[in-house]
């Protein structure tokens, strides 16, 4: 269990929201334990009231009673907090969490009675005194019930505190995810509005209008859809893959109209992957790169292949373009860096984005992300 005060900063989010082992700080629990120990001390004082108010009894006797109790509870709580088993088990559903914690109760309650009364008898015996209490037959059940009730109350407090901490942390994390998405949208919009793309597309429409109004209309509509998608994708953090593929098709259609006869785009979308949730606008910057380097900077007829396949628990989308090669000095642009960052915030190490030279020429970009454990 990593307790890291910097864990809430961008860059140290190891897991998805749903599955993260929480990284709450334990310090609020320590305060809680201190408060709890104080309560126990008061109880101990009340319990030993008889001894305190009897002048013939030496003061070490009530002191022994109080310290044996608070000492035992203190050690117990310290052990509890160090073991971190409260935070290791998911808080949801609450019943399961309580049952999990209560498994320890018999051992803890018995241990409590044995240690507290063992200590007291031992200290009294060493001092040559006699420690009197209820007969064992009545005392043990009473003490066990008392310990159990107090332990349940303690667990309730721990649960409440942890829930509060977790909801706070989730709020912060959600903020981060949303921030990353907003950044992606912005950069996406900038890319969309990348002047060359926009003005050249408008010029294509202007040209088509003269000869084929229906086609001109189609390009214009696609440009509209694409701009709208970039502006409005904020409503959902993830979208079904199909929706993302539709966006890619809009873009590819426009580019194919612009670079008529210079590019062939193939789509291989496996059965059943269309509903898999993916972060919105995660693929488009990759396709854009494929056009930018594979098509716009070459003179031949090139091919772009978009493929989506489903492994047992991973979705893999590849975009392969011919016509370009990654050089050794190649550096990732802002669009790709942004995609990578979003994948990391959402999935941690479970998602990857990889670019490499393809064995048959060209460059292949591969995005792999988990199907289970996708963000809510």
């Amino acid at each position: 269990m990593a307790i890291d005060p910097t864990a809430d900063k961008l860059g140290r989010m190891p897991q998805s929201i749903a599955d993260s082992p929480p990284s709450w700080s334990r310090s609020p629990l320590v305060w809680l334990a201190a408060l709890w120990a104080t309560l126990w001390t008061l109880i101990a004082i009340i319990e030993s009231a008889y001894y305190i108010h009897t002048p013939s009894i030496p003061p070490w006797q009530p002191l022994t009673l109080i310290l044996s109790l608070t000492g035992t509870v203190g050690v117990w709580l310290t052990f509890e907090l160090r073991s971190a088993r409260y935070v290791r088990f998911p808080l949801e559903p609450p019943g399961a969490w309580f049952l999990h914690q209560l498994r320890w109760l018999p051992m803890l309650a018995i241990g409590y009675v044995v240690i507290v009364f063992g200590l007291r008898h031992a200290i009294f015996a060493i001092a040559g005194a006699r420690y009197e209490h209820l007969p064992w037959g009545a005392l043990v059940p009473f003490e066990l019930v008392k310990a159990s009730i107090f332990y349940c109350i303690w667990l309730g407090l721990v649960y409440g505190t942890l829930s509060l901490l977790k909801s706070r942390e989730q709020g912060a994390k959600l903020g981060l995810v949303q921030k990353a998405l907003v950044e992606a949208q912005l950069s996406q919009l900038q890319a969309q509005l990348r002047p060359h793309f926009l003005f050249n597309t408008l010029n294509t429409v202007s040209s088509l209008m003269q000869v084929d109004v229906v086609r001109a209309d189609r390009v214009l509509t696609r440009l509209g859809d694409l701009l709208r998608a970039s502006l409005g994708a904020g409503s959902a953090m993830t979208v079904p893959l199909q929706q993302e593929i539709n966006l890619l098709r809009l873009y590819a259609d426009i580019m194919q109209e612009r670079f008529l006869g210079r590019v062939q785009v193939d789509w291989t979308i496996a059965e059943g992957v269309s509903v898999v949730p993916v972060p919105s606008m995660i693929l488009q910057p990759i396709l854009e790169n494929a056009f930018r380097y594979g098509i716009e900077q070459t003179t031949g007829v090139e091919t772009i292949r978009v493929a989506a396949t489903c492994g047992r628990d991973q979705l893999v989308v590849t975009i392969h373009n011919t016509g370009s090669t990654l050089l050794d000095c190649w550096q990732e642009g802002i669009g790709l860096a942004n995609c990578r960052e979003r994948l990391r915030v959402l999935y941690g190490d479970a998602a990857t984005l990889h670019l490499s030279n393809h064995a048959e020429g060209g460059v292949i970009a591969s995005v792999s992300l988990p199907i289970t454990g996708s963000p809510e």
Partner: protein
């Protein structure tokens, strides 16, 4: 008749220009090119009067194409581009016109009227090429004909340049390219840094000079690293010694 070449890597953009240009009675479309290199080739081969030149293209971009043109014989240039306003600002001195995509027919006709006005005014062509050279800083590279096509060579690869009428022989370690240019124009394009004239019709790469041997009347024999022997004319000795620190 005004002969025009259309250069754009996007087919619809070419089609639009083609449509409007071909409706003009005094314009003849001499060719269409989809990239910078074939545009350079087409301009060299067909010597058009005007070139409608896109800037963002694969390989050689529009400005680089312009920078490689021979200054005295360059066609009129009309840049047609989506968003190179900063690059075009330099041309906005009336030297050349440009069309920003998308443009309408009225704007196109205005550009065409300017082409007609300047059709016989060579100074516009000259300044367009000069500005393009300033913009691209082209002195490191030279476009040379090779077999049927063209290729770019590094100006550092050039050993010496020899003028021959309206042509220049460009010698590298293993090749000689023949360019239809004047030596003066070529030296202007390649910059004065690397090359020095040693004769009315010969310039050498300063880094390639190996040895000088005095001859009669103040002339020298100049040997290049490649072993080639050339004559250094008396008239150019002062400049050479100054440039080489001798």
């Amino acid at each position: 008749m005004i002969r025009a070449i259309i250069v754009d890597d996007e087919e619809p953009a070419r089609r639009k220009l083609h449509r409007w240009l071909s409706s003009e009675t005094d314009i003849q479309i001499a060719g269409e090119c989809a990239d910078g290199l074939s545009a350079s080739q087409s301009i060299m081969r067909d010597s058009p009067d005007v070139v409608f030149l896109d800037i963002q293209m694969p390989g050689l971009n529009g400005l680089q194409v312009a920078a490689q043109l021979e200054i005295g014989a360059a066609p009129l240039l009309v840049f047609v581009t989506a968003y190179d306003a900063h690059a075009l600002a330099a041309f906005d001195l009336g030297a050349v016109d440009y069309l920003l995509k998308p443009y309408d027919e009225e704007r196109f006709r205005r550009a065409l009227d300017r082409v007609r006005d300047r059709h016989h005014a060579p100074e516009h062509r000259r300044s367009a090429v000069l500005v393009a050279r300033q913009q691209t800083g082209v002195s490191d590279r030279l476009l040379v004909p090779e077999r049927e096509g063209l290729r770019m060579i590094d100006s550092a690869e050039i050993h010496c340049l020899e003028a021959d009428d309206n042509y220049v022989h460009v010698h590298t370690s293993d090749q000689t390219y023949l360019l239809r240019r004047t030596l003066r124009d070529l030296l202007q394009q390649l910059g004065e840094q690397r090359f020095v004239r040693i004769h009315k019709s010969v310039a050498v790469n300063i880094d390639e000079i190996d040895a000088l041997t005095p001859l009669f009347k103040g002339d020298y024999e100049l040997r290049l690293r490649s072993g080639r022997l050339l004559r250094l004319s008396r008239r150019y000795t002062t400049e050479l010694f100054h440039r080489t620190g001798g």
